[in-house]
Amino acid sequence: MAFRFALAALLGSLCYLDRTAAFQLMLHRPLVVATLMGAVFGNFAAGAQVGAVLELLYIARLPVGASVPPDDTGAAIFAGAAAAVASSSIGLDGGSFTALLLFTFPFAELGRIADRHVRKVNGRVAHLTAEAVDRGDLRAVEHGLLAGLTLFALSGALLALAFSGVGVAVAKLLLPRFGPGSRLEFSALLPALPLLGAASVYSCSRTERTSALFFLTMGAVFAATVFFRWAA
């Protein structure tokens, strides 16, 4: 298990770097991260299952200007690890799936707080860099950037370690306490979560032209899904 956590910290650190500091290739998106965490903890399909829903939940919060959006990467680390472990111990039924997705929001908010702290410390790094350049040290720019990257990477590794640890604990200790009946009742909330994600996409893309298109497509795909499933 120690190897799995070390791997989770390493991958988490890389994903967090992609989130703000480097590249922005979307390796930090919940679908990618939750699948990776699922693979690390033994079931990549379970990780992908929660990642596919988490992917859209926070997409309406944009990283514009000084605003720091909720940390959906951290939420995916928790949910991916928990889903993989839960699927091997009690099976990932609808209720557990719903509970894991609902439990993600404190991690998204904690990750956001950590991100703000790193950026504040980076302010001090930038200040020291400017002072060193004033003294004639050009290499300070490279050292300053390296310090910033290191802070982002370290914070990412620690968050990944903590969030995956809590995820494994929730899957092993908390979810099995609820019986199948309770989990079935909890699954009543499941349909709301993908709709929350779809609403996030809708609010991002909403214009006069796209509004009708969204609901027409929703109706067509809904009818096709119901028809083909019943026919099958």
Binding site: G47, E55, R61, F105, R119, G123, A126, V133, P194, A223
Partner: protein
């Protein structure tokens, strides 16, 4: 004064470093350290043997800077060209700051609307839908759709910037990012609708009743409308998830 033009190695170095524009993102100067870091190889070539002027140039780029990171490449390329002219004594150093400040706001707005408001939702919705078929298909679709556009803008934007201010402005006009934003928003709406329809349909199937299915569809539309209205009021997804969690606990309590 003759100044060496940027070597191919220097250009490659600046191009690689632009991926770390946000490496030391902070609330005071935002991308200032990242910008200075990215342009440093060019400054070292232009001001070789003139350390005092090199220092002044670096200080110019440690001033506040913030824009959408992919669009920052346009400004970076054009700033390299301007620095070349400043080093040759053909331009006023203050023109660089004026140019950067003048462009970063508008490019930030264009880039935010295109990348965060349109392209990312499109790629994410496509990925989430395809992940229902196979997780890897979803991931590949998400990364390919986003990065095909993202890397192209970074590459072409930087090349255009390297042709000077006029080249940058001409590329921005030709790229037509506003029109492309509208197209991506249409695609996002279609994919988002398909995603909602697919998930709502999956649950409606379990009822096995046509009227129940229609009722569930209407409920789905109402919920999307309700969540969207809440987002517009400034309610965050975390708060909605928190309320749903409380509802879930109450269901269990009962």
């Amino acid at each position: 004064m003759t100044v060496p033009t940027l070597s191919a190695a220097g250009r490659r170095s600046v191009w690689r470093r632009q991926f770390l524009l946000q490496g030391c993102w902070n609330f005071e100067g935002m991308q200032n350290v990242g910008f200075a870091y990215a342009i440093l190889p060019a400054l070292r070539e232009f001001y070789a043997g003139r350390p005092e002027e090199a220092l002044k140039a670096v200080k110019r780029h440690l001033e506040f800077f913030n824009t959408q990171p992919a669009m920052g490449t346009v400004i970076l390329g054009a700033a390299v060209r301007l620095e070349e002219r400043v080093a040759a004594g053909e331009a006023d150093p203050r023109a660089i700051g004026t140019f950067k400040v003048g462009l970063m706001g508008s490019l930030g707005a264009i880039g935010d609307a295109f990348f965060w408001g349109a392209l990312r939702p499109t790629a994410s919705a496509a990925g989430a839908i395809l992940a229902l078929l196979h997780p890897l298909a979803g991931i590949v679709a998400l990364l390919a759709l986003y990065n095909a556009n993202h890397l192209l803008v970074r590459f072409r934007g930087f090349s255009a910037g390297m042709q000077g201010q006029e080249g940058a402005v001409a590329w921005l006009k030709a790229a037509g990012l506003s029109g492309k934003t509208e197209d991506r928003k249409l695609a996002a709406a279609v994919l988002g609708g398909a995603y909602a329809g697919a998930y709502a349909g999956r649950h409606a199937v379990l009822g096995g009743d046509v009227f129940l299915a229609i009722l569930l569809f209407v409920l789905g539309v109402v919920m999307v409308r309700l969540f969207t209205a809440l987002f517009r009021k400034g309610v965050s997804p975390s708060e909605i998830l928190g309320v749903l969690l409380v509802v879930g606990v109450l269901i269990l309590w009962d």
